[in-house]
């Protein structure tokens, strides 16, 4: 096991695009870190550079105190699960598991024991003599995981390993991966575009966009104190609502005013507010926005009844806001509604949405 240090890592592709700009990051030993972002954000590029499959244009990568960025993948002592699983199609499951051991000179009894142990752990013993093409997607996924787990490695890399599974299996594997992590305590680096995976599995998440680092923090921090509009909108589902707003002092109380609602900040929150222009961007999550039937600026467009709750879409001018409501909320399309917001739950950013101005919610 080892910690991972990225120092001013930069990657420019041959065609000139900047895939990753100046990323510095400390990943502690035995941490489970997720790289999260939309496609093209640089998360996979970063993972591939850590694996040694791509070379950084600038910067350094260290495992513990060992500098590795000039080493071949083979010399880095890593394990990796590929998005496509990349099982060797001409080898049986057993031979697939055996391959990384053979390459590291693990032989004889120890090799057999390790394969048996891994297969038992992942419940793939009955599959050992089959070829990858005879397995279902979920089974292939487990084999890919097994091939990475079968030997000791310094760093465990996972490149969107669950993205080819159906929703049910994905949720199941998510829980299982967390259990495996707790049991073995590998240093894990996990790449995904699925914010739910990042939220549920990692000890810390790294949000990237267009090759630029947006935020590093625990899932809790990232959810409750997103660093900017992008992170706020990317993490959480349905996504946060954004409204232009103003900060107005009235009778010694600081009010946040937007078209549909206004709230007064508590003294404690006000103390955490950074100084800035009065024009701001206000963010509010669907669960923090309440609707009241009656005369108001909003008009209900659609009520999605999910059984345990309802998602309500409300038109406001040419904007559309999303609210979470109770399963049986007495709301219907075309109804006029008022908005009520929780003052402790509003996120305030600068007008461009580049910077968070207030403490965590």
């Amino acid at each position: 096991m080892a910690s991972v240090t990225l120092q001013a890592l930069r990657k420019r592709f041959l065609d000139g695009t900047l895939a990753l700009n100046d990323l510095s990051l400390q990943i502690a030993d035995q941490e489970f870190v997720t790289f999260l972002g939309p496609s093209g954000c640089g998360k996979t590029t970063t993972l591939r550079m850590i694996a040694g499959l791509d070379n950084p244009t600038d910067g350094q990568i260290l495992f513990g105190a060992r500098r590795v960025d000039q080493l071949t993948p083979a010399a880095r002592n890593i394990a990796m699960v590929f998005q496509s699983y990349a099982l060797y199609p001409h080898m049986t499951v057993r031979r697939n598991l055996e391959y990384p051991l053979r390459k590291r000179g693990v032989t004889g009894k120890e090799r057999d024991e390790r394969i048996a142990r891994t297969a038992a752990l992942l419940k793939i013993e009955p599959l050992l003599d089959r070829l990858p093409r005879q397995l279902s997607g979920g089974q292939q996924q487990r084999v890919a995981l097994g091939r990475a787990m079968v030997r000791d490695c310094d760093v465990f890399l996972l490149d969107e390993p669950l993205s080819n599974l159906d929703a049910e299996l994905r949720a199941h594997m998510r829980a299982e991966l967390v259990q495996l992590y707790r049991r073995f305590g590998h240093t894990m680096i996990y790449v995904t575009h699925d914010q739910a995976e990042a939220m549920t599995m990692s000890t810390r998440m790294v949000v990237l966009r267009g090759g630029e680092l947006q935020q590093v923090g625990t899932p809790d921090e990232v959810y409750h104190a997103p660093a900017n509009r992008f992170v706020a909108g990317f993490v959480g589902s349905p996504a946060m609502n954004f409204l232009p707003g103003d900060l107005v002092e009235e009778a010694g109380v600081l009010q946040v005013r937007t078209q549909p609602f206004k709230v007064s900040l508590s003294d404690q929150r006000r103390a955490e507010l950074a100084k800035g222009a009065p024009s701001v961007l206000v963010g509010i999550r669907p669960e923090d926005l309440r609707l009241e039937p009656g005369d108001g600026p909003g008009r209900v467009v659609l009520v999605e009844r999910l059984g345990h709750e309802s998602i309500v879409w409300v038109g406001l001018g040419d904007q559309r806001l999303c609210c979470r409501a109770a399963a049986q909320a007495p709301l219907a399309a075309d109804q006029s509604v008022r908005f009520l917001a929780d003052a402790n739950r509003v996120h305030i950013f600068d007008a461009e949405g580049m910077r968070r101005l207030i403490g965590r919610c």
Binding site: G52, T72, A74, M80, F82, S84, A86, Y88, Y99, K103
Partner: protein, 277 residues
């Protein structure tokens, strides 16, 4: 429903008539090869041999240098295939997976040389091979055949290797293999169907080649089948068509065998221009 059935039956009938018409020359070749000499001059010609006999094949193998030509063709075909395919597997992998200066240029050059007319290289190649002292030798022929077989094999193998996901090599490297080990242990096994069909196509190209073989070889002992059999056509005053058809049948057999193995990869091979046209 019934009208549909009748339509389908008529369609099947029509297509098979056309298919059999296309195959008629092949049938005629086989039929003639099984006739005794005098029956080839029968008027009207007999569609099927009246007195089917294998005497033409027997004469071919005992009274003519056909077996020598056949053995020479096999030697040239095997040597060309082994040489060309081993060079092309490395080259195609290098062109597909590595970025280095001039890569695009080489890829274009491969296509360009693949389409180059043989007559353009004929004279200079003849001079080179004579200077190397390889005129009238099978080795000289193998060298000449690389000029069209290598670009072809490169082009074809490239299409097979491009289709192999790069993930597997990367997985192998992460698992501790070096680049070349990953190539040998992961890429080659997966490219194997491609390598086999490229080998078959290359062998067939070499087997069928006429021009270089005719120009470079002037002694009977080193002749390959195509020019060898055609000299049999021009030697005699009275052309023995039954004997020539028997030779044609035997010349076609290896191609037929290769062809039946190639069925599944035919599109690919043809698509990138399987056989020297």
């Amino acid at each position: 429903m019934i009208r549909q059935r009748i339509g389908l039956a008529l369609y099947n009938l029509a297509v098979w008539v056309v298919v059999l018409a296309i195959a008629f020359p092949l049938f005629w070749m086989l039929s003639t090869a099984l006739k005794p000499n005098d029956e080839t001059f029968a008027l009207p010609p007999t569609l099927l041999p009246v007195h089917p006999t294998l005497e033409q094949f027997q004469r071919l193998l005992t009274e003519t240098p056909f077996t020598t030509f056949f053995v020479n063709s096999v030697i040239v075909g095997l040597c060309t295939t082994v040489l060309v395919v081993s060079v092309a597997v490395l080259g195609a992998y290098g062109l597909v997976r590595f970025r280095f200066p001039g890569r695009e240029l080489i890829a274009h050059l491969v296509l360009f040389t693949y389409l180059l007319p043989a007559v353009l290289l004929l004279l200079p190649l003849y001079l080179i091979i004579s200077r190397l002292g390889l005129a009238n030798s099978l080795a000289g022929l193998v060298i000449a055949y690389t000029t069209f077989a290598l670009p072809f094999a490169l082009w074809l193998l490239r299409s097979f290797i491009v289709a192999i996901p790069i993930d597997m090599e990367e997985a192998a490297m992460v698992d501790g293999a070096s680049r070349m080990r990953a190539f040998v242990e992961v890429v080659i096994p997966q490219a194997l169907p491609g390598i086999i069909s490229t080998s078959l196509f290359t062998f067939i190209m070499s087997w069928n080649e006429y021009l270089y073989a005719m120009v470079f070889i002037n002694v009977d002992t080193s002749k390959t089948l195509p020019p060898g059999v055609l000299t049999m056509l021009n030697q005699n005053q009275n052309v023995e068509w039954a004997l020539l058809m028997a030779a044609s049948v035997l010349m076609s057999v290896p191609v037929l065998v290769g062809f039946s193995f190639l069925q599944s990869h035919l599109t690919r091979g043809f698509g990138s221009g399987a056989v020297k046209g």
